[in-house]
């Protein structure tokens, strides 16, 4: 009995001295390689890191990567600029032949990656908005950057698919069943986001490289959006503001320098550093450049109709187009490096550059009947290509002919960059003429199908016409 008493006494003592609950026993510290969301947005540094994460991921996301299922490659194939070398690759050939199956895996990757970037932006914007501990000015700045990336992504979605779900938050329970929004509604959102960005953002690049978004990036892109929407005045006004920022941007004389990292012509670029690993260079380079040694790795060549469009003495023909004898194929040589482990990275993937702003302004001015001013802008592009200036050889050019010339210059200047040609064919109304020789061409082919896998998971999505 004595023992029993001392047992009880000991237990009581122990109970008094220890007081823990089992929840504590199995509750753990947060891991060091993960940060709980609330913590990410609790201080300036991690909030900045999360924005840099989005820029890094733009290199990984298929749609913006410049690789196989990017806008650059797929919309390039859909246009009359790029062709696939291996006609047996059904996934890719469907884009070239305008016969995209709703089950096409490239199309699904494009769609999926774009919405992943939108999720990153939405999650980011939500985190910032709920945060109370970030420097107010920085908070605005970062929100401007994230809203830009979101608008940028929606711009491609709406132009590729016409109507898509407009997702602005992260609640997967609701978003999983979201129906498509009208094109106008999406454009309104794009405009809102870009206007916010172009007002809020600083004029300098936050990370001193041209891979973050500043005021001029937002303006340059908004100029393009207004051009697509036919708001000539706004397009002209915004592109002018960018062109006038000569401290940051200029048209480079040497065509070989245009696509270098942080080149003076670049307005916004995506750095391949986002790929991590042993550093490589741009996906655009590895997709388009045909290496004489490794030609068997190559999959893309330039459409001969594009090559024929250049006159003999066009510098872009010489500098930006290469030829591989063993494949008898022309290739885009804007990026010079197909693959390299050199560090620092020599070339960044170009998204926005000054030449496009001149072309936007030329077109906007033409639409506003300012023919001479339009010619002047177009001649900036022609001069660099070492072509005779329109102002000299054809000063009295008609508006119609000038518009045609602008589209031709856009094709020659912006080929293999972000599907410009495909969108130009669509918005100019020339698409039917461009492809009428293709027996399977239909007008409904100008929009890609909504991936069937998405429709099977979200019954509220409606397939585009013709699929």
């Amino acid at each position: 009995m004595k023992i029993n008493k001392s047992i009880i006494r000991t237990f009581i003592l122990l109970l008094l001295s220890f007081h823990f609950s089992c929840e504590d026993v199995v509750s753990i510290d947060a891991p060091t390689d993960k940060l709980v969301r609330a913590e990410v947005f609790s201080n300036d540094e991690t909030a900045i890191s999360a924005m840099d994460g989005i820029y890094n991921e733009l290199h990984q996301a298929e749609f913006s990567s410049g690789s196989r299922s990017s806008v650059t490659v797929l919309a390039g194939l859909s246009s009359d600029n790029v062709q696939y070398l291996n006609s047996g690759n059904i996934t890719m050939m469907e884009f070239q032949d305008h016969e995209i199956a709703p089950t096409n895996s490239g199309n699904l990757e494009l769609w999926t990656s774009a919405y992943n970037i939108i999720y990153l932006c939405n999650s980011y914007i939500e985190g910032l908005t709920n945060s109370t501990s970030i420097d107010a000015e920085l908070q605005q700045q970062l929100e401007g950057e994230a809203r830009f990336v979101r608008a940028f992504t929606y711009f491609y979605l709406v132009n590729l698919y016409e109507i898509v779900p407009l997702i602005l938050d992260t609640d997967y329970r609701v978003n999983a069943l979201k129906p498509q929004a009208e094109k106008e509604e999406i454009y309104t959102q794009i405009e809102n986001d870009l206007q916010f960005s172009s007002e809020i953002l600083n004029t300098s690049y936050r990370n001193s490289e041209k891979t973050s978004v500043n005021k001029f990036v937002a303006k340059a892109f908004l100029a393009r959006v207004y051009l697509f929407l036919g708001d000539w005045q706004e397009a002209e006004r915004l592109s002018t503001e960018v062109i006038q920022e000569s401290a940051s941007y200029e048209i480079l004389e040497n065509l070989d320098d245009v696509f270098l990292a942080n080149s003076r012509e670049a307005i916004w670029q995506i750095s391949p550093i986002g790929g991590g690993g042993i550093v490589s260079h741009t996906n655009d380079g590895s997709m388009f450049v045909i290496d004489p040694f490794f030609s068997f790795f190559s999959t893309l060549k330039l459409d001969e109709s594009l090559v024929e469009e250049f006159s003999e003495n066009d510098l872009r023909r010489e500098k930006w187009i290469g030829y591989n004898t063993s494949l008898n194929a022309f290739f885009s040589h804007k990026y010079k490096i197909s693959s390299s482990t050199q560090f620092p990275i020599q070339e960044y993937s170009m998204v926005l550059r000054l030449a496009e702003q001149y072309l936007i302004r030329a077109e906007a001015r033409l639409k506003m009947n300012e023919i001479d001013a339009a010619v002047e802008d177009l001649d900036v592009i022609r001069r660099r290509a070492d072509l005779p200036l329109l102002a000299e050889i054809n000063p009295g050019i008609s508006g119609e002919a000038l518009l045609e010339e602008i589209y031709i210059q856009r094709r020659k200047e912006l080929f293999t960059e972000w599907g410009h040609r495909w969108f130009d064919l669509k918005r100019s109304g020339n698409i039917d003429t461009a492809f009428h020789s293709n027996p399977t061409w239909e007008m409904t082919d100008s929009f890609y199908p909504i991936p069937s896998e998405e429709i099977s998971k979200n019954p509220n999505l409606i397939q585009n016409d013709g699929y």
């Binding site: 001392s6 753990i28 994460g53 890094n56 986002g274 991590g276």
Partner: protein, 990 residues
């Protein structure tokens, strides 16, 4: 819920408190309490039926831990209480109990009992049982079957020896983790199928260790650093009765590894050494140059294409006479294997210890200087107080290994090079780029000079302290600490790569640490009420694991010799680190009861809490009931079937769980992006997910005939895993394709296992023993609502096993095109997943082993046949492509040699069809050991107790119709699985 936690808290507190209290008590008790009865020395001689002395018989004082063993002359001497009982036990003989009754000399004769069924203690984890009394299903392999095998991880020794345990080799690279599946695949996630490893009571993570090296696909086996020679037994717990006490970690079975402990008398020194050679036992039957070139030429003729430099470099550019046996070149070497062991053990009545060390080295079959080396040390200590009440055991196992393996050997492509391909290396030993570049090819040996050095250290310690407070009432606690670290350097010198690409010297570094501690206080109570015997345990577990990893890459080293010296790297890239914590707490209980040693009932249960689950779902209960009826103890049965010495029926049912779901999965968290300096969310967060539940049912029959000369066991089991934790699919517009959630999907494993052991012949000079096991497993995905819309839609089918491949329906060769053709099931003029309607089952249909053991005087011959019935696939390479194709190729049944796209599309579809399915079954002479014990009489004169010489062979002979390298990996035709190893060695005991 709060109430439940506090109940748990109370139980834990009571146990913890009790331990601390009694430990302090015991210290005094051990020194002060006098022996209760008069002690006296008893000695005697132990002989067999023929009067021949038996050395090594264990003699213990009943209900104490005191014991000794008989010497070479069968003599023993032990101190025992005058009214005590001596227990004589020896494997192969019936255990005998004799009252001391003040006798000073007790000599006895032991009666042979081959099975040792009733006597051998089986480790069931928290308690011990015997084969006879066990209500659960536990398989066991002991030291004799493990210690001489030239293997790195002890798990490899289990192949073919246990019913229901399927082990496939991780490949020929030393250190690669084998895959172990106990009674099939339970989880839809491949990473959710590891069993629980427990070494001397301490859990070890079964997840293979991450590596950048060639071992990357299988990972590094976390048991590599254990010394197989230091293992006493490996028990595998299979059914609910045995595993439920491990709760949320027992779903995939439990592997208990017990290391050797010291002898209880005298001192001894044991030396064991062996050395031998390993080689790749099989080669693929590949074409020689002339036949290869003929087929290539035929392809061009069929296509009407003119061979040129770019499409037919092997015909146009390369030497038409040259021949290289690329298999010989890539893995034709012999790898040396050497192992040395030294053990010192000793003790007296109260204390015993064992100290040992070992060295192991193994080369590789590849070109280049690569080697695996391992050094281990172990220590164990066992002590109990004079009054037998206090007991402490401690064990420590330490191992370090260094694995230098080739950095980038592209075996998969190397052996299929055209037989007339140019040399890979120039005469000066550098890579030959020019000749390959002419053909527009990179040298397939690119990366040849890369190497990987992985060093790991592993420490496992465990301590157990117990004290008997009252007769039958014991308080006990186990403590364990483990630490595993690995450090890896992958060097990539520039000369491994084509100079045209301006390569630089690079390195990749990876290091990781796994550390854990565990405390398990327990109360044990045994009581008899007449014929009712009750054994009970109440215990608690608190465990914490911390693991961390760092990785980074260095680039632009000025010279090759500096690679790895980070200070000399111009840039350091992709530096990453992470730290993971896992905490686990539980209370568990077991009540084992039997009535008159006839009727058995075993109840086990556990309440678990794990940090791997969201705060709302951290706790759950598991439990099982097991029963057994030894009907041979019933008089009516005994009278009717006197030749049946044991008849037992047993059944168990219960639930276990699976918490292998990765840590922190429930957190809404950001991670570092692959690019530097960025953070991003990588998944949608679901704070509510929980464990997978596994319900196991088992029925077994065990029979022993003719005094257990023949033993037969039959088990039928069924286990159902539900609440499957899977990626619940979502449309991509939500940002991600899925969110982790528990689905009401159910996977069932069921099957039959048969074990048969016979003593065919036994007399003074000669004995022959046979053991046989066979497993007939079946696996089925019972239900998975919404599978069509899930990411598993094209992987699994409801009503079919998990390990399947969905195939096209092969319809023969299209006579028009000459290509393979298939049924377009949905008639949409294209072949896609909708047309892959033929289900090919890749589960093993049956497997097992047949072991024979012959002894004649000092000689013994043991050999194990392993057999597996399964399907396989061997792909006959696309005739016409510039890869070497198997020489089985002939025009019948194969598509016409062709280079066209349509031809290769037809071929790649054929790979995903029933076309190349073949029989992957095999019989394999897994191990063969011939050993000879030098006569004892002679040895004694020179002071040696035992001298044993042995020859051992591993994977000596395989009988199969499968044409690939190793039928064990019957879906990977050119995968080198098991090496053939022949070793010779000796064991000397002083």
């Amino acid at each position: 819920m709060k109430n439940n936690y506090s109940r748990l808290k109370w139980v834990a507190l009571i146990i913890l408190g009790g331990i601390i209290f009694f430990l302090s008590k015991s210290a005094t008790a051990a020194t002060t309490s006098p022996p209760l009865f008069q002690q006296q020395v008893v000695s005697g001689l132990v002989t067999d039926q023929n009067g021949i002395p038996i050395p090594g018989v264990t003699v213990t004082v009943k209900n104490t831990k005191r014991g000794t063993v008989t010497n070479l002359d069968g003599e023993y001497s032990i101190t025992a209480p005058a009214n005590g009982t001596l227990v004589f036990s020896y494997i192969g003989y019936k255990t005998v109990e004799i009252q001391v009754d003040n006798n000073e000399e007790i000599s006895i004769q032991l009666e042979g009992d081959i099975s040792g069924l009733g006597e051998v203690k089986i480790n069931a984890g928290y308690y011990n049982t015997t084969k006879r009394e066990s209500t659960g299903n536990i398989s066991r392999v002991t030291a004799g079957e493990i210690e001489n095998q030239p293997i790195i991880s002890p798990l490899q020794a289990l192949q073919g020896r246990m019913a229901g345990v399927e082990i496939t080799s991780g490949g020929a690279n030393p250190g690669a983790a084998s895959t172990i599946r106990i009674r099939g695949i339970n989880s839809l996630r491949t990473e959710g199928n590891y069993p629980l490893y427990i070494i001397d009571g301490v859990p070890i993570s079964a997840e293979p260790v991450e590596t950048n090296s060639l071992l990357g696909t299988s990972g590094i086996d976390p048991l590599n650093n254990l010394n197989p020679s230091n293992i006493k037994s490996i028990e595998v717990l299979k059914d609910a009765d045995a595993t439920a006490i491990y709760g949320s970690r027992g779903a995939n079975g439990v592997v208990l590894i017990t290391t050797k402990t010291g002898a209880q008398a005298g001192t001894g020194l044991e030396m064991r050494i062996y050395t031998g050679l390993s080689s790749v036992p099989e080669r693929l039957d590949l074409l020689r140059t002339p036949r290869y070139l003929d087929i290539r030429k035929a392809a061009f003729e069929n296509d009407g294409v003119e061979p040129d430099q770019s499409n037919a470099y092997d015909l146009v550019l390369w030497d038409q006479e040259r021949y290289t046996d690329w298999q010989e070149y890539a893995f034709g070497r012999n790898a040396e294997v050497t192992n040395a062991n030294l053990t010192f053990s000793g003790g007296n009545d109260n204390t015993s210890f064992r100290l040992g060390g070992s060295w192991f080295s193994q080369g590789t079959v590849y070109p280049g200087d690569y080697q695996y080396r391992k050094l281990t040390g172990n220590m164990s200590l066992n002590h109990f107080s004079e009054d037998e009440k206090f007991n402490i055991t401690a064990s420590l196992n330490y191992g370090l290994d260094r694995n230098k393996i080739t950095g980038d050997l592209k075996l998969g492509t190397l052996n299929f090079l055209p037989p007339n391909a140019p040399a890979l290396l120039d005469s000066d030993g550098t890579l030959n780029w020019s000749e390959w570049a002419e053909a527009g090819l990179a040298n397939p040996f690119e990366g040849y000079f890369n190497s990987n050095v992985i060093g790991t250290n592993n420490l496992i310690t465990s301590t157990s302290i117990s004290y008997e407070i009252l007769p039958g009432f014991q308080i006990k606690s186990g403590f364990g600490y483990t630490r595993y670290d690995s450090d890896e350097l992958w060097t990539l010198p520039a000369r491994s790569y084509n100079p045209a690409g301006n390569p630089v010297n690079r390195s990749a570094h990876l290091s990781s640490v796994r550390e854990s501690w565990i405390i398990e206080p327990q109360l044990l109570y045994t009581i008899n009420f007449g014929k009712l015997e009750v054994n009970s345990i109440l215990g608690a577990t608190v465990q914490e694991n911390n693991s961390s990893r760092q990785s980074l890459q260095g680039t632009n080293y000025a010279s090759e010799s500096l690679i790895g010296n980070l200070a000399a790297a111009q840039d350091i890239l992709n530096a990453r680190s992470s730290r993971i914590q896992y905490k686990y707490a539980a209370v568990f209980a077991r009540i084992g009861m039997n009535w008159d040693k006839k009727y058995y009932l075993n109840l086990t249960g556990r309440r678990d809490g794990s940090s791997r689950f969201g705060p709302n779902n951290r706790f759950a209960n598991f439990g099982a009931i097991g029963t057994a009826w030894i009907f041979s103890e019933e008089d009516f049965f005994n009278n009717a079937f006197p030749f049946i010495s044991l008849g037992k029926l047993r059944a168990s049912y219960g639930s276990t769980g699976n918490d292998q779901i990765g840590d922190y999965g429930y957190l809404d968290a950001y991670e570092a992006t692959r690019g530097p300096g960025g953070l991003y969310p990588t998944a949608l967060a679901n704070p509510d997910y929980s464990w997978e539940v596994n319900k196991k049912l088992e029925v077994g029959l065990e029979l022993g005939f003719w005094k257990n000369r023949m033993n037969f066991g039959l088990s039928w089991y069924r286990s159902r895993s539900s609440n499957q934790l899977v990626g619940y699919t979502l449309p991509a517009i939500t940002g991600f394709g899925s969110v982790q959630a528990n689905l009401p999907a159910t996977v069932e494993n069921r099957g039959l296992e048969i074990e048969l052991n016979t003593l065919n012949f036994n007399n003074e000079n000669f004995s022959w023993q046979t053991s046989f096991n066979i497993s007939l497993p079946e696996n089925e995905l019972l239900r998975y609502p919404g599978i069509e819309q899930s990411s598993y839609a094209n992987t699994y089918r409801v009503g079919e096993p998990l390990n399947i491949s969905l195939n096209y329906d092969y319809t023969g060769i299209d006579p028009e095109t000459g290509y393979y053709s298939f049924t377009d099931v949905n008639e949409d003029a294209r072949l896609d997943f909708q047309d892959r309607t033929i289900v090919e089952d890749r589960t093993r249909e049956l497997f097992g082993g047949l072991n024979n053991n012959f002894t004649y005087r000092g000689f013994s011959l043991q050999f194990l046949w392993q057999f597996v019935k399964q399907n396989g696939k061997l792909i006959y390479y696309n005739a016409g492509r510039p890869q070497n194709i198997l020489s089985g190729y002939s025009s019948d049944g194969y598509q016409a040699p062709t280079q066209t796209y349509q031809g290769s599309l037809a071929f790649s579809n054929a790979i995903n069809s029933s076309r190349f399915v073949e029989d992957g079954s095999f019989f394999r002479l897994k191990t063969l050991t011939l050993s000879y014990d030098l006569p004892g009489k002679f040895l004694q004169t020179i002071g040696i107790e035992k001298f044993n010489l042995f020859l051992h062979g591993q994977n000596l002979w395989t009988i199969t119709s499968y044409g690939g390298m190793d039928p064990e990996n019957s879906y990977e035709g050119n995968f080198i699985g098991n090496l053939r190893t022949v070793t010779a060695g000796a064991q000397i005991n002083f």
